[in-house]
């Protein structure tokens, strides 16, 4: 499963990095999302879904490809 992110909406909460630390990190200062793996393996799909749904700014959009 792939995903898109809209960085301009990111509020730096770090919710994604807590939910899916293999896929997301934050930068040191303002906490804006940093993508560690744009093509996560299938076994991380539930973590990716969790990150997308918990993000308080709806930055992460899942796509099926």
């Amino acid at each position: 499963m792939n995903f898109d992110i809209n960085v301009s909406k990111c509020v730096g909460a770090g919710v994604c990095a807590i939910a899916a630390p293999e896929i997301f990190d934050q930068n040191e200062d303002d906490g804006i999302v940093v993508v560690l793996n744009a093509h996560p393996p299938a076994e991380q799909e539930s973590k990716l879904r969790d990150a997308a749904v918990r993000c308080p700014a709806a930055v992460i959009t899942l796509s099926q490809q």
Binding site: V11, G12, A13, G14, V15, A17, I18, D25, Q26, N27, E28, D29, D30, G31, V53, R54, P56, A57, A58
Partner: protein, 408 residues
């Protein structure tokens, strides 16, 4: 009770903001195959609230830009969204919710997500130029009013009041900010951080009234139009715009005749259940958070979703696992983005570990009893998130100070 009376199991969710929408979506996407009815009092597509006191006050925004989900997303999930209709009564014995249009909604499960309403001053109704901010309609009105305003008095020095004051002065409006505490945000963050934030606002040109000088006696009006605020200590501030940001109260009037326990919110057990098959989530829910061993009601955006997902999972799993969470919030104060994890209110001690608000980089930790209970930061998001892990693992204050020592 008569849980099997309805042919298809039905979950009714009252409140269609972040918590209600997340609960509905999670139920469906995680396997619930009963009916889901999502009831919202506002006439808009479900939208997001944190931007209302931030971007939405700077530029005119469309409601469409704030929606929580793409158009038809909920309908495509088979969620029956009823917009623009408030719930007016819960009949817990017969397991139904009465809506203001006369509809009776029977339910097997009920999730209460009605949030909070802004508190008003006594007798500020029907005076033009006096605003509160809770809904997107409020934000659109306030945004427009700021375009025409020359002098604003904000009553209330919490997060909402300070964010509104910041937006207004950046738009060229003269601002007086009145807070009953000695400093801004003192109740939430403590006096030292509060003092630093107060300086930040003063440097931007905000004029402050604090303590007894901030107690409002009455509004001065000309006809139905506000022209100023009389303060109890004697002074009057001229104003063509007044914003009342003195807090909020749980939206529970529709539950007063029900069997649920109400006490500053819907009182829930640790799993967020408030009755048999009845749950509350988001700003309206008061529950016992085992991680802090405290009764909490959290008005934060991330909690709305986390709590909703927790309840959806309890309904699907049929268990009563407690909801354990480290609260999180952020606030934009000019260029400074504050981020906090944990429970900072009612703390016993604050230690600023490094930096200051003025430098735009600060980390402060909070103690309650013998434990580390909170961390506040700006410009240090990742370090702050590491402190969150220490809060989650119930680190003692002594251990926290050792960690701080070894980090420095």
């Amino acid at each position: 009770m008569s849980r099997i009376s309805h042919p298809t199991p039905r979950t009714v969710i009252v409140g269609a903001s972040a918590a209600g929408v997340s609960a509905a979506e999670a139920l469906r996407t995680r396997g619930y195959d009963g009916d889901i009815v999502l009831v919202g009092a506002e006439n808009h597509e479900p939208y997001d609230r944190p931007p209302l006191s931030k971007q939405a006050l700077h530029d005119p925004v469309s409601v469409g830009a704030l929606t929580l989900r793409p158009p038809n997303h909920l309908q495509n999930l088979g969620i029956d969204l009823r917009r623009g209709v408030a719930a007016v009564h819960l009949d817990s014995r017969h397991r139904k919710v009465l809506l203001e249009d006369g509809t009776d909604l029977e339910f097997e499960r009920l999730i209460i997500a009605t949030g909070v309403n802004a508190k008003h001053l006594p007798a500020d109704n029907n005076i033009s130029g006096v605003h509160t901010l809770r809904t997107v309609d409020d934000a659109l009105h306030l945004q427009a009013a700021l375009s025409a305003a020359s002098r604003l008095v904000v009553i209330g020095g919490g997060f909402l009041g300070t964010e509104i004051a910041a937006a207004a002065i950046q738009r060229g409006v003269e601002v007086v900010l009145a807070t009953k505490a000695p400093t801004l945000l003192e109740n939430a963050l403590g006096s030292e951080v509060g003092q630093q934030l107060t300086s930040l606002h003063q440097k931007q040109g905000i004029r402050l009234r604090t303590g007894n000088d901030a107690l409002v006696q009455s509004l001065r009006t000309n006809g139905h139009r506000v022209t100023g605020v009389h303060f109890a200590s004697g002074g009057t501030e001229n104003a063509d715009l007044v914003v009342v940001a003195i807090g909020s109260e749980p939206a529970v009037d529709w539950l007063r005749a029900s069997s649920l326990t109400l006490s500053d919110g819907v009182v829930c057990a640790a799993d967020c259940s408030a009755g048999d098959g009845i749950y509350a989530v988001g700003d309206v829910a008061r529950w016992h958070n085992p991680l802090f061993d405290l009764s909490m009601r959290i008005e934060h955006r991330t909690n709305a979703v986390d709590q909703a997902l927790h309840v959806a999972d309890r309904i699907l799993a049929g268990d009563r696992l407690p909801y354990t969470t480290v609260p999180y919030f952020w606030s934009d104060q000019y260029k400074v983005k504050l981020q906090a994890h944990g429970y900072l209110r009612d703390h016993d001690e604050v230690q600023i570990l490094q930096g200051s608000i003025e430098e735009g980089k600060v980390i402060a930790i909070y103690r309650k009893g013998g434990r580390l209970t909170g961390v506040l930061g700006a410009g240090a998001a990742k370090a702050v998130r590491q402190w969150r892990a220490h809060i989650e693992s119930r680190t003692t204050w002594a251990q926290a100070l050792e960690v701080a020592q070894s980090n420095s």
